[in-house]
Symmetry: C2
Subunit: 258 residues, 2 copies
């Protein structure tokens, strides 16, 4: 039986990679990933065959991973974070679905055993670094309109505002795209105070990590890049300071009982 | 410096516990948790002092963890899943906040160094076991009205429906509470088709794991208990079958490019 592991390697710190993922990586002969992620895995990667396809070649990466596994090579398709969250896992199943519908000509893909291994996503890394930002109901919204119509994204920002969810923005900006985050801020300001705490987490859990505490009113896309996670609190989230240490937490409502 | 680690141990499979969490557990003399979680950690727990407070004593657990750490004992406050997601982390910071406001009389808490270590949450365990259910924008809603007014929960279910988010329900039922999940289903049926795929994941990643694939129209609280995660797809999520293997994935929109 040929096998494909589809796995997320967490935000960057190897100490957050699940042992199941490390074990599977060791069992694989072939690794398929965007090169930057392979670099993060440095010490684990000796003796493996790399298939390093650039950003933007997501479909090619998913096809290649299925092809390699179908050829009998135990293969790892790797992303950072959780590969099930805005990442490659869904594309593997979308390709399988196409094959099941007869729209692809790769019946050998259907014989591949697939195992998905989750990882720590950026929203969790950020929330933990600043305290407990995801302590109550939350949502995620990707601001990339490469694959999703902007109307859908805009609808979701409004819904997130109306529901008073803590919101984590994935793909908040890109080199060619910077107005969406400020638009999202302006939408959310219709629903929650300008003082709402915001975390801007860059390169979370990596040596170059940099975390900024700001507010919804002060949030500006110019302070954000592609390596950044932006999380906006709900209307009850609090930014507190103990000496020089800052925290953001979103209460669950225990204070009524304290 | 006294230190408190606030850590999530993932859904149950020890192979999903972050090495940083395991390392911190080993460094601690005192573990504070609900007993069931301590059982899951079995082999790791030799030589530790347990502080096993029952379900419902969340505030007591957070206080005890801060107290022990303030006494100089390196302490772990432990939950399953991600302790930052509907779990104990937020309560630690809520207590700190109370102290900072002078509403508690524990200035020693302010000297405790706190490190939060995230874990794999049940929604991620479930999504990975069935494929890629969280492949696009998603939200979480806790159906427990112990601490949150039902009006707030109801508003969030409507917002999740209006935004067409994939939805993971935490605390979907309890011994005394079973109507909320069916109500949530009825609300979501106003926004998405009865054929929308639903995962019912019981005891995810544990030896007794049991996963049921159903639809929004067929979802019924009688099939759900306290050890269960319920995730509802968005209007584009697909349930596919390859031989006897079932998957659910939520497409990101690559099909336009396939």
């Amino acid at each position: 039986m040929s096998k494909l592991f589809v796995m997320g390697m967490g935000p960057g710190d190897l100490g957050l990679v699940a042992p199941n993922a490390t074990k599977a990586l060791n069992a694989c002969s072939d690794w398929v990933a965007y090169g930057y992620y392979l670099e993060l895995l440095g010490e684990l990667s000796q003796g493996k065959t790399f298939h390093d396809l650039p950003l933007g070649e997501e479909i090619g990466r998913a096809r290649l991973a299925l092809d390699l596994a179908a050829q009998g090579k135990t293969t790892a398709l790797i992303s950072s974070g959780d590969i099930g969250i805005y990442a490659m896992a869904t594309l593997v199943f979308e390709l399988l679905d196409q094959q099941l519908q007869g729209k692809e000509n790769h019946p050998e893909w259907l014989d591949v055993e697939i195992e998905v291994i989750p990882g720590i996503s950026a929203m969790q890394a950020g929330a933990s670094r600043v305290g407990a930002m995801l302590g109550h109901d939350f949502c995620t919204v990707s601001l990339s309109d490469l694959l999703t119509p902007w109307e859908t994204i805009d609808k979701r920002i409004h819904a997130a505002g109306a529901g008073d969810f803590v919101i984590s923005f994935y793909n908040p900006v890109s080199r060619k795209r910077d107005w969406q985050l400020n638009h999202a801020r302006d939408v959310l300001l219709q629903y929650r105070p300008a003082t709402t705490p915001v975390m801007i987490g860059r390169q979370l859990t990596r040596p170059e990590e940099n975390i900024t505490f700001t507010t919804l009113g002060e949030l500006d896309a110019k302070d954000v890049d592609m390596f950044t996670m932006v999380s906006v609190g709900n209307s009850e989230s609090r930014h507190i300071q103990n000496g020089d240490k800052h925290w953001i937490y979103t209460p669950r409502g225990y204070s009524k009982k304290l």
